[in-house]
Symmetry: D4
Subunit: 251 residues, 8 copies
């Protein structure tokens, strides 16, 4: 609702086709509607396949079940991330159609299975990084992106990475998930011209300091086109990758 | 070039329709061509408007001038980042057409002025953040993106940010530059559904620890769709923003 | 007991209406009384509604019960913070009238329910920050302040924050509780001219480093008028907010 | 402008006493006016004695002079903080009446010398902490607070601190400035019931890590009622102290 | 295989002495064979006694058992590091001949017991450092090195270290394992001219920060010839020591 | 055994009053005896009342029992620090006379109860610091020092500290135990001219970072004469305090 | 002035031999006099040879000259630490008899040259550590201790350390000064039973992090009897060593 | 000199073929000779081509010249590291034959130019890393190793690295020098089975934290066989590489 909408509304009041009370009802929401930001929220859901997300940590199981029920009644796709098996069981009793991806730790209802033409590539280094990679991959999928998984291609055996080069280069945007020293992000960043979203994981020990080594490594990547999200933030990477992927879709 | 390509090429050699030298020419580049990664490099320049970049710190002025001359004879657009006035003077003697953006600290030749339909929005918080913002903006511009500058909209005066909301929302991808506590990235991230690249700056003092506060703040952003580059890395943000922007262009 | 009190006492000795032994008894406590600091303690209790507080961690349940009993026999209001359900049960056996606020984790006796005219506003970002917010809110309440709770108004959905702007601005002092990147403190600080006490929480993961990101963010707030307490220190914020609130009461 | 104001405005349109264009003009500014935040800004200046502030680092001398001139023509009191002697000279040429406090490093015009009944106490530990203390003190003074300076009372000679106890206790709010281990904040916090704003300074060496030791010390203060601002942030402490001080004034 | 090799191969195809299929076979492996890196992998196993290693953390017991079975059917020596007793039991059911070293936490099959002439010396400071030392020692042994264990020779009782000097100096390469302040690495480094691999351990408390103190200490060793691996990385030190040891074997 | 001792020994061999074998026996221990450092060890035990100490963490209960038995058969006083109740039970079966101090977590045999004339003062801030304080106190006592405990005198209630000033000043050396911000060390250091050994404890939360805040605070103490041991290292402080105390005894 | 003193004073008032005003005068100072802490200050100077010290950083040259003049007129020995050549020249003009130790960076007047029977040993690792070692040594000397310098005995050449073992063991208390990895403190601590004061220096580069590596190393020393002062704090170590040394003097 | 040597010596004394004084002379050096460590020093020089090294920082130019003169008169090869142009000039006046490598910042006399059969490979990432790489390379060369330089092969252009693969694999030991994210060490470590010594450099900005990012990255390398030296420590890497290289020489 912009300047002309308001003027039109006011003219209807002047003409009497709209009572002041009706106009008030419309204008009262103006601070948000006019800000245009609420529209954004609306748009976002449509373009994201209507995926609402619950971040489980810090919420009780009852709270999660309650929110999930409400969201599942309104939106086609709903996700609860960082969800335990226990949470899955509880949600399942309330919303029997939910599924659970053990590795991604996501409880979800996925009714609207859209699939983009372009692909989000999720590349991961070691087996232990797969849960975070899966969180990113499943998030992007439920939101509507086609996802290519390229796992277990750490730099310690760089030929395995080269075997998958075609698949890597065929993606529109890449999520690179790696713990320990996180060198994979730089190597991929040096090989492709697509946007790369690096996800440091907390995998490692000692001087990895719970992911700090990988995080700093990725932030200092000598390759251009690499940006970084929080340690273990597969969800955030998945959302961002999906949004970037959407830009390339012909609309 | 995969298995069948090579076989076909070899069969042509066997048939005599391709001389060994011709075949060699084709195959010799195979380690790179076949890797597909050299092609990428090639593509990148074309799509980026052929912009080659020199990162000045750690190079002598003579080295910079020499590299700049070579690149400027081959590529349409050339940039030298983190360049001092002194470097500009030295390069100018060798390549008289160079220009210098004092704030962005970029010395550049910009012959091929392409301009995308979609815009990269560069949003910055305080006046002191402008040099990093300009580095991002000019980088994206020289590479071929249309850029919208939205400066001085820090969260301490959030109404100024709201005045610019239309421009912010009209961009395809956003670079958010902020020092001190870096809260701007979260606020923008909460307002838009476009990809947001956050650039922490070293602006601040005391417990900002040369940009660490802003960096951590941005990595922990409660808004989805925000990723982060290194402290003060305007160039990296500009490159990445341009690449993401290019995805939305109709080709 | 100040200069004139002592002189008066000495004159009574000179007059013989007070024996030296009696005077000694009175003066012997002078080092503290005269320091004036003990008076402060006295005053503090009166103004705070006589609230004595036990910080539970590092004390055995027996110790806590014992101290609580003694305090509850002397003071109208008594609080035990960071108290588990188990501690509540044990204290309840000794002092049956105690209550327990599960979220705030405070066991308390609240006999003297004063209520200031001005309000302490407790604003929090995410659901997971509520326990710390509640600790601050209940602390200020038991001490005698009227408290306004404004929860779940994180910057990722800034319109929810704006919906509550009237309530926020109606408070005399604000406690802002936020984890992750802690941007809420800066946004609130930019919107109001009241004193803001920021409480970083340990909510988050990865590069939040158990609240360090929020702490640094808040310390570097670009808004004036913001000061910070320790991570998760809801109690400290509640005490300080109450003291500031008291300054505005007409006495 | 709230609900009833809008309704009234709309009824005038319905009645024809206001044209749609006139109503539009009024309503179009509603997002800010109605937000009430702009009013806050207005209020703030009035209550703060109309003190506008320029933070010098990151601005050129020309920029500072220009901004100072504009502000000095509109506001009674204007401050430029972290200002060098050179900045002072430049501003003085444009605004001859400016003064300069060398220790506080503040260039200022102070035409409206209001003075509160209550006092802001600024307490500092060592001689090297005085510049930060002076920044706090002068800031609070120019904003309109009466200020009591209690300097050089570090805990290594605690009797000097006790000599000043009367003055300390007579203040309405205290700013405590200390470097090295910052113990002074806890000692003062233990002695008074007034709000204490602790300012860690970067004074020290070795394991002081440029003020980190004092900062952490103050954040962990065992005394209630202590909050902390950024290292060396005398200005922020001064602003906050003034705001708290204002709460106690009879209006 | 370089330029001339390929040309020669192609000429043979042109001449008909090599069919396209045969040439393909040769060329198809070119990306790896020609890289020469795959050969390395092959070589490595032979020289290391064919020891394949599984790093257990982040893998399920089922995964570990499966991988172990496959490797044990192909390689003579197989190790699983950071393995719990539970993992040992599970692997034992599938591969009955496995053994378990409780201290080193290694499950292993050790069929090919080669033994170098030169020795790897593993020196450790305190009793609590022995698990990491054993991980290094057993790793080097299974890979084929003769190992000398010199335990419990911390610098707090430097005469015990001197009692073992002959054994220390008789080794070809030394692994020095120490927690707390890690001074042993410097002392050994000052006494010998052999390569020293320092392994900081997480043993300690308080300001050891989980091995950081020992790590920094070892990185700053005033003795030449000392390099460092990650905290608690006995395995890495064992592998590297074995490789260095192999250089001195007459082949 | 110095130059003249050796010469004398050799002359006896020359004279035949000592056989080469007897001389060998004497000289063979020369590397240590002559170093004079072994003598030190001998001295140390005598002066310390023969107290041998076992640091329990990282040792199995069996190992601890075994070492304790051996030491208890040779030395009058034996201590096992950081010992659990379970360790106490196990040692008690082997050495029935052992005692256990639950707070100090020390299992000990204390047969030789010497007591110095001078006193070691152990001062602690909060109740939660008492375990570390007790470890220091009991360590010094078993080694032979008279110990004065001055507990619960934190700076938040500085008058309680002043009540105990006589006792504090009557000690020859002071151990100051404090967590949180550790300000007590500076306050005591400013009040006395005796050596002060500061022990930071890990008591606190949030930005105490497990004792780092107190550690840095104490290292930066503005008072002279303060030195610091590791976080929670009550034992180390007790040993050092005893050694300093011994210097003042008339021998 | 204790209980009986006060009683006596009151009885004189009762008797009339003291007017209430006179008694007031006496009692009013009681808080300090009775605290006894001022006496301590007095005592301290006498025992320390009356050495007053000025810490130069953060003071102007004029301030330093002024303070030095005053102190030099009252005390026999005066020191100004961290003093530049320039400061020396300025002080020399005001107090011609001052001397300057370039390495220790101390400007001093040393009229009362007492010398203890026991010795403070100052041991340092590398040549670059000597300035800090000299600061400690000269401080202890001017205060009245006999000092033994044992320099350049780093652990990388441990035989040089053993050559000096007699001198090391002949001291009553040891100051050990070392940068880089600071291992010397542990080695000395393991060799002697005297109190050891470790001084980490900022000597080193890279991961020494300006002395942090040495600091952590020393705090985690595996040897008992070692305590630590701030990085580069030679003065603090000298003062403390002198105080400990004084305990062993027969008085 | 071991047990039997001493016995033999004593028997000669008993027989009279050795006077006690002669025997004393022999035995008196026993603590060091017998320790065998002095021999080591001797051996080291012979094997290292007799290279003595001076670390310049923290020494005056006069000291450096003096030490260099002495060493150059005794040893064939002498190096002074981290030497400025100014130091070179000063040394050159005293020892005219010295040379200076500007990049490596080494002043040296290289009379004995031995050259091993095996090669030390020095691999570096960016141009800015070359000074540290040169320090490593020249150090190893002067000590007697043949050195292969493979520069400018960072992972951002991984094909350049592959072009040099033959040279990399032909070396006996590799020094890998990289700043920023230090990923090169992992990539090389994954490609070769030779020992890899990783040298993080301080090249980078922002979150590189002066080399910390590269250091942590290298310590967490997912490739086996990688160990790490201090940030910018080219010299240490060169010494260690030479020692490892020597193990493979046929002696």
């Amino acid at each position: 609702m912009d300047r002309t909408d308001i003027l039109q509304c006011l003219e209807e009041v002047a003409k009497g086709t709209l009572t002041p009370e009706q106009a008030l009802q419309e204008l009262i929401e103006l601070p948000y509607k006019d800000l245009g930001f609420a529209k954004v929220d609306f748009h976002r859901n449509i373009r994201n396949g209507g995926t609402e997300t619950i971040f489980c940590p810090g919420k009780t199981i009852d709270q999660i079940v309650e929110i999930f029920k409400v969201l599942a009644s309104k939106s086609k796709n709903v996700m609860a991330t960082r969800a335990s098996q226990e949470i899955f069981q509880a949600v399942k009793e309330a919303v029997p159609e939910v599924e659970y991806n053990t590795q991604a730790r996501i409880v979800y209802v996925w009714r609207d299975k859209q699939k983009t033409q372009g692909k989000v590539g999720v590349v991961s280094a070691g087996t232990a990084d797969i849960p975070v990679a899966e969180e990113a991959a499943l998030t992007a999928q439920i939101m509507g992106s086609d996802v290519e998984r390229i796992y277990d291609v750490g730099v310690a055996g760089i030929h395995r990475l080269f075997d998958r080069r075609k698949e890597i280069q065929s993606c529109r945007v890449l999520v690179v998930v790696a713990g320990m020293e996180g060198a994979l992000a730089s190597v991929i960043g040096g090989l492709v011209s697509q946007p790369v979203i690096a996800v440091p994981t907390s995998i490692g020990y000692g001087a990895s300091f719970h992911g700090l080594a990988a995080l700093l490594s990725m932030l200092n990547s000598c390759a251009s086109g690499v940006s970084v999200v929080n340690i273990d933030n597969g969800f955030g990477a998945g959302v961002l990758a999906h949004r970037i992927n959407m830009l390339g879709e012909t609309r």
